[in-house]
């Protein structure tokens, strides 16, 4: 007799996790939703949402946050895809070394990692001292408390979330497909765009979603590297809830943020489904 398929284990095995999620995820979410519907002068309604959506500053913060997420995702993709390609094609210790290098940031405390970036990017930091001692710049470049530095720091932290799914997808590609493409007259770039990229798209989408989600919610990095001048949604929500004790408004902001992020994630997935590489299992 055949063993039961591993995917058909009784549902009750999942019940402890379901309870946990119910108590600590679904219930607070419902509470959050309820809280967000409370008006400023009592009563229930959508006034908090209206206040957020009609406020140019708040909308700017929301869009800025999503834009930051896209930039970090793009940076991770541009830097991570070649890395994943090299790691997949190289075997043995080279591959191990790359994985280790990519994983190391994950194993370091986020605060320590962020302070390291401050040391690198600061006015008297490593980059500025190097550039000015070479005589390339007169006055220190402003990288800390600027968005470029923030994108770099976030991209470094989120890199494994991009590289690991990409490596999984790339290693599933039959190497003889590359040979076949070349033998049929396609150069390296054509092979990359017509064969490699479509076939690693599932991993690329997964990596992009993970990177994006992690980048826009990276509160500590955003606050320390971004400093006071740049405000993103996590910091903004924190400000409203903790400093101003405006809980209903913070709750509404959280819900709007959640919906916006879900929309972006769905857009990523739709992009993937458009390309047919996704259909391949």
């Amino acid at each position: 007799m055949a063993l039961p398929d591993v995917t058909t284990y009784p549902l009750r095995l999942a019940s402890p996790l379901a309870l946990f999620f119910g108590a600590f995820f679904a219930a607070p979410l419902v509470a959050l939703l309820a809280l967000s519907l409370r008006g400023a002068e009592g009563g229930f309604g959508l006034s908090q949402y209206a206040a957020f959506l009609s406020d140019g500053f708040s909308l700017g913060v929301l869009l800025g946050t999503l834009w930051l997420g896209l930039k970090v995702t793009a940076a991770c993709l541009v830097l991570g895809l070649p890395l994943a390609l090299v790691a997949t094609r190289a075997g043995g210790w080279v591959r191990g070394l790359i994985i280790l290098a990519v994983l190391t940031p994950l194993l370091t405390s986020v605060v320590i990692r962020t302070f390291a970036w401050i040391v690198i990017l600061g006015r008297q930091g490593v980059i500025n001292s190097l550039l000015s001692s070479l005589g390339l710049i007169g006055t220190p470049l402003r990288m800390l408390y600027a968005e470029g530095g923030l994108v770099a720091a976030l991209a470094q932290v989120q890199m494994p979330l991009m590289v690991l799914p990409l490596m999984t997808a790339l290693s599933r590609i039959d190497p003889s497909l590359w040979d076949a493409s070349e033998a049929l007259g396609a150069g390296r770039w054509r092979t990359f765009f017509r064969v490699t990229l479509p076939l690693c798209l599932p991993g690329l989408i997964a990596g992009a979603v993970l990177t994006f989600a992690a980048a826009i919610s990276g509160f500590i990095t955003q606050s320390l590297i971004g400093g006071g001048q740049m405000l993103f949604m996590p910091g903004y929500i924190y400000q409203q809830a903790i400093a101003l004790q405006n809980w209903p408004f913070a709750a509404a902001m959280s819900v709007i943020f959640l919906v916006a992020v879900l929309a972006v994630v769905l857009a990523f997935n739709a992009l993937g489904r458009l390309a047919r590489g996704y259909a391949q299992t």
Partner: protein, 390 residues
Amino acid sequence: MPCSKIDAAGTATVTPSGARNQAQGQSHGRTQAEGRSVVLDGITHRYGGAIAVENVNLDIKGGELVSLLGPSGCGKTTLLRIVAGFLRQSEGRVIVGDQIIDALPPSRRAVGIVFQNYALFPHLTVAENVAYGLAARGAPRTEQAAEARRLLDLVQLGHAGARYPRQLSGGQQQRVALARALAIRPAVLLLDEPFAALDKNLRLDMQIEVKRLQRVAGVTTLLVTHDQEEALSLSDRVAVLSNGHLEQFAAPTTVYDAPESLFVNTFVGSANAVPGVLLGQDGDGPRIALDAGGEVVARPLARPIAPGARVTLCLRPEHLRLTEGQEGIAGIVEMALPLGPTVVHEVRVGAGRPLKIAEPRLGGGSLRPPGTPVRIAVAPGLASAFPAAA
């Protein structure tokens, strides 16, 4: 087509292979490029320090189908990858037509390859797979589609253009791979164990199909295989490789009937290798006294051997016959295997390995039960003798 500057290859345009005389290329509405000659000139390849292929010389005429035959690890796949350009040989030259192609990357060699696992692009339709090489050459879309359609018709898959490779059977996938390789009108077609993944009945059909397409296209073809039957049945000539060395390069019947080495004799077809001593040569040929008793006249020696030296004599099962008389080598039947058209007996002779004897059943080769004492007659002038391994 430019005239060849290489002596051996120069004959290619003058004497096309017999195959192309029957080609139906014209009936398909285009003039196919004449198959170009391929010369492997002193190819040696080392991986690190290990020699994979050593000083292999092959001179392949235009339109010829040549098999690279050998066990795994003999270097045949290395040679294929060198011709395709995936590997750069350590020494030697690859010449296609009158051009040395060593410096060209795979994408500019005009080499069509059918991979062992077919390597079809899973995210492209069958028609897009076939058109891939044309798209890479910048052909207009309408031409790509028309050409893909023509080639799919040629491999009898005209109806399957819109499907994806995973929706096709193994044999169909192979035909798509073949159509894709032929679409670029390759100067050379390389087939890497293309039939290994097919079951036996389908394999024969596909072998006939490939042979037919190769003739239609008139393309010079290199077939890598470890299957000697496949090599013998499909090839114009067979190159037998062992441990990176070319053992013999000749027509299939020559390789089978007149093997030049013990390896070729035992790898191609089956052979009973029996020890003996060379007595000398006379008008009939070399005479060999077998350790198991009896004397055999072999075919002329491939390389000279001093009289009195120990030799290994290769007796093919069909060279042997069971007799009732008192002549021949005495033995006892160990096993009788009726194999449809033939019957094979294993007969113990002396202390060595039992001899296999194959006789046609129609010719009176009846089954003899185990334990029957028999005599074995050897057809003269067919067996091959080689120096005994030290």
